[in-house]
């Protein structure tokens, strides 16, 4: 498809010097952007202009730019990862915007994800939850042959659906309660669907949920917003599974 040129865009972006400073929106103009340009390349171009003008560039998280590392995290025009479905910000392209548009860019907003600088937030809370139980307790070596335990294709596929989570935090940023239930349930489901992970399923569900609560994430009220904005299409059916796993574990206590 032939690319067009967006002659002028207005970029309204959140600027915040550090975690303690007061942040505010700044407005910049940018001209002649090809619709084939990715959104983050547009920010690269804007940053180059800012540097050339002697201003500090906008700090934002990004790395693989292929939609898989989960590092990029922008809230664009009120949507996590911007106005397109099933993508991360780095996969968003400028063809989704009209010439003359004003684009508003904010960091993830959640109590558990404090801003570090500009659009960069601290997602350490996710790490803490995974460290509390998001694994199968197996050391390197001494494990059975890969084909020793057959796993049905359906179970493997369902586990894979849940394991596709990239840990970006869009679910938390989108949820009005800043709940991390989709993130936690994806890991719990992935491992609960596999025979290797069943063994610790109860312990895992309990410790991850306890840590999630401790880290200051809100409760789930079943709005389903997280599922809509998840770049990997993680289903809220996983939340139902997490609730079941958690309930069963608690009853056994």
């Amino acid at each position: 498809m032939a690319d067009k040129i967006l002659k002028e865009l207005t970029i309204k972006v959140w600027r915040q010097k550090n975690a303690k400073a007061q942040g505010k929106f700044e407005t910049y103009k940018i001209n002649d952007i090809s619709t084939g340009t990715s959104f983050l390349e547009m920010l690269d171009i804007l940053n180059e202009e800012l540097i050339n003008g002697g201003t500090e560039p906008i700090a934002f998280d990004h790395d693989c730019r292929e939609g898989i590392c989960g590092m990029c995290s922008l809230f664009i025009d009120g949507r996590a990862h911007g106005p397109d479905d099933d993508i991360t910000t780095c996969q968003l392209h400028m063809r989704k915007f009209e010439d003359g548009a004003t684009i508003t860019i904010e960091p993830w907003r959640a109590g558990a994800f404090p801003v570090i600088k500009d659009l960069i937030v601290d997602r350490t809370a996710f790490e803490k939850i995974l460290q509390a139980g998001g694994y199968i307790s197996v050391n390197t070596g001494g494990v059975p042959d890969g084909n020793a335990i057959p796993i049905s294709q359906d179970d493997a596929e369902e586990a894979m659906d849940a394991a596709a989570c990239i840990g970006c935090g869009a679910c938390v940023a989108t949820c009005k309660n800043s709940s991390a239930m989709l993130f936690v349930s994806a890991k719990v489901s992935h491992l609960a669907k596999l025979p290797q992970g069943r063994i610790e399923a109860a312990r895992r569900a309990k410790s991850m949920v306890a840590k999630m609560d401790e880290m200051g994430f809100g409760n789930c009220t079943n709005t389903g917003a997280c599922e809509v904005e998840c770049p990997k299409g993680i289903s809220i059916a996983n939340i139902a599974r997490l609730n079941r796993e958690f309930l069963v574990a608690k009853i056994k206590d």
Binding site: N52, E66, T124, I136, G141
Partner: protein
């Protein structure tokens, strides 16, 4: 000159690793608790090594520049991981995987290392399954396999198009378990800027905390570099934006030899460049070549119409399509190794048969597979890749063939290591893509994941014990030792120098200039005049960099431009070394293609008489030419032949 001892064990090839394991020293559990190990990088190699060594009882300190260990660029590997399981009963074996890898690497890798890699490959799959990696399965519940380039068997295990992600999440989960138990001290957003050597041994690192800007000292009994490759020297590559050669370069500047820097892999199936302001190239998995057919038009007038956008691929009649890989390489067809496929695409485009507006693209067509297998099957196999392609290009690959072009992807070269994966600096180890040892001059598809995990799960945890067994009397290293103070000052001086240039041009502008020089002269085709010119141009670029760099923002706070400045400073030096190495190696081999050394039909021509060695470059100080050490490669088990995939 440093005398390099590869420490390859004696004895028959198939027994070397077991004999070596039996012969090396072991550290007792009580002593492991007293030993600290630093692991820099948390990809497949670093993550698996950190987790395994922590499980064994060592105290591990892990570092990554990202905000989480899970984001290392191993996550982006799509297609799969090789293992000699022979689950498909297609006569695969350890020896066949060994042979394919040696041949695929164009006979420029060590036999002993590659054989060990093939030996442990099966264990990796078992380990990953035990961790809960959701590999693709058959209806009967067994593991599924696919084929990859350069081989005639199906030995590649995969999890949709996200194999790297799932393997990384597996070892990251193991790391998380060890972090939770206090056996790994994790340092995110923290970047290595120097290595501390005390009395000839690696004893620690100096890092910059990327959130606060503080320079930090960290000590250990051994230091492991697992920071991946240096493909971003070209600016545009399939690497993540933050991937850099900094840690490897600091190892080099502290005395570790840098081996085969000119061996760079150019991946044939990437989305073509769309314009001057692009920051990153996207890979389309090699697995697509299982079911996609590569072609360009036979007639130049068709190509010209395609370039002008007057017709589409579907307007070109069947008989006017040139399936040039199937034509030139009938036995491997679309599954020739990456270096061969990349050069063939470049050849077609250079001849004027490119299919997009820049003339730098060929087709990868799924029409035939869709007709043969149905759209559902293709969607199940590659759905996420097709979606990714459509999001980027706004073109639907189910209806129009994909457009692809080669791009920089992987670096086979890296820090020189011996059989124990230790550099020539005692106590300094290098694993995964960061070392040079297993892929020779070209890496086969689905082998990077295999090597990273082999090094981290099953090789380093054993071999590091051989070194640490002699360190058990050494108390915890004091970070107030004068060498730490000296190195911290050196890092501060270096960063303040970059910050205080106060010139007019951004880091990226220099990086792009370097990328242009590298792609033009040290890219897919190289010759003597071009390489000499490249060295000269890089030297000019360096002078401009130190005169005119502009780093805005605060010095002692998060400063992304300052981070990038340090990385680009290293890339400039690394780029020059790559050109020097390419100039020295007058033969063509694997990904290194010297225009002066080709066969009559344009294939790479090796010169085994003069170049069957590893180039190991040794740093001599700033502004001085490095010294070239040579490790002769000895082949006792395979016969060197001109590689043929015809």
């Amino acid at each position: 000159m440093t005398v390099l001892n590869s420490k390859i064990p004696a004895g028959p090839l198939a027994e070397k690793w077991s004999n070596h394991k039996a012969a090396i020293k072991v550290v007792s559990p009580a002593n492991k608790r007293k030993l600290d190990i630093i692991v820099v990088g948390t990809g497949l190699a670093g993550g698996s090594a950190a987790a395994s060594m922590a499980e064994m009882g060592y105290n591990v300190k892990a570092f990554c520049y990202q905000d989480s260990g899970r984001r290392a660029h191993s996550i982006a590997a799509q297609g799969g991981i090789n293992a000699a399981k022979n689950y498909q009963n297609d006569n695969d074996s350890v020896h066949r995987l060994f042979y394919d890898t040696i041949k695929g690497g164009d006979y420029r890798a060590r036999e002993a290392n590659v054989h060990r890699l093939a030996e442990v490959s099966g264990d990796i799959i078992d380990q990953c399954v035990a961790q809960g990696v959701p590999f693709a399965r058959e209806y009967g519940g067994t593991l599924s396999n696919r084929s990859f380039g350069g081989v005639l068997v199906s030995r590649t295990f995969y999890a949709r198009g996200q194999t790297g992600q799932q393997l990384l999440l597996g070892c990251y989960a193991s790391m998380n378990r060890m972090i939770g138990q206090g056996k790994i001290e994790m340092h995110e957003r923290n970047e290595l800027l120097d290595i501390v050597i005390i009395e000839g041994k690696a004893r620690g690192i100096i890092t910059r905390n990327l959130v606060t800007g503080e320079i930090e000292r960290h000590s250990a009994h051994a230091v492991v570099i697992a920071t991946g490759g240096y493909g971003n020297v070209f600016f545009l590559s399939t690497n993540a934006m933050g991937c850099n050669g900094g840690a490897a370069w600091q190892a080099y500047k502290n005395g570790a030899c840098f081996a085969n820097p000119c061996y760079v892999q150019i991946h044939p199936t990437c989305i073509p460049i769309h314009g001057e302001q692009q920051s990153k190239l996207t890979l389309m998995s090699e697995s697509l070549r299982n079911d996609g057919r590569v072609w360009t038009p036979k007639k130049k007038e068709d190509a010209i119409k395609l370039q002008k956008g007057q017709i589409t691929a579907n307007d070109i009649a069947e008989e006017d399509r040139d399936f040039y890989l199937e034509r030139r390489y009938p036995s491997y067809g679309n599954l020739v190794p990456r270096d061969v496929a990349s050069r063939a695409a470049k050849e077609r485009c250079d001849e004027g048969f490119g299919v997009n507006e820049t003339g730098k693209a060929v087709y990868l067509d799924f029409k035939y597979s869709i007709e043969r297998l149905g759209k559902d099957v293709i969607e199940a196999r590659y759905g996420n890749l097709f979606q990714m392609y459509e999001k980027i290009t706004a073109s639907n690959p189910y209806e129009l063939p994909m457009q692809i072009y080669p791009a920089i992807h992987y670096t086979m070269g890296g820090i020189w290591v011996d059989y124990n994966l230790m550099t020539n600096v005692p106590g300094l180890f290098a694993i995964g893509e960061a070392n040079f040892s297993d892929h020779g001059a070209n890496r086969l598809g689905a082998s990077a994941l295999m090597q990273g995990l082999a090094d981290g799960y099953f090789v380093l945890p054993y071999t590091i014990g051989d070194y640490l067994a002699d360190e058990i009397q050494v108390p915890r290293i004091d970070v107030n030792h004068q060498e730490f103070i000296k190195k911290e000052k050196a890092v501060t001086d270096r960063m303040t120098r970059l910050y205080n240039i106060k010139g007019t041009k951004s880091v990226d502008s220099f990086h792009k200039r370097l990328g242009h020089i590298m792609w033009e002269y040290v890219g897919m085709a190289r010759n003597e005049d071009g390489l000499k010119l490249a060295i000269k141009e890089i030297q000019t670029l360096r002078e401009d960099f130190y005169k005119d760099l502009r780093v805005p923002g605060d010095y002692d706070a998060m400063n992304i431009e300052l981070e990038k400045a340090g990385r680009v400073e290293d890339f400039i030096d690394l780029g020059e070394l790559m050109a020097r190495d390419a100039l020295d190696r007058k033969e063509s081999c694997g990904g290194h293609y010297r225009e002066e050394s080709t066969t009559e039909d344009g294939e790479a021509k090796r010169d085994d008489q003069n170049f069957t060695y590893v180039s190991a470059w040794e740093y001599q100080g700033e502004g001085k030419a490095p010294v070239l050490n040579k490790e002769e490669l000895v082949f006792e088990n395979v016969k060197l032949t001109q590689r043929s995939y015809k």
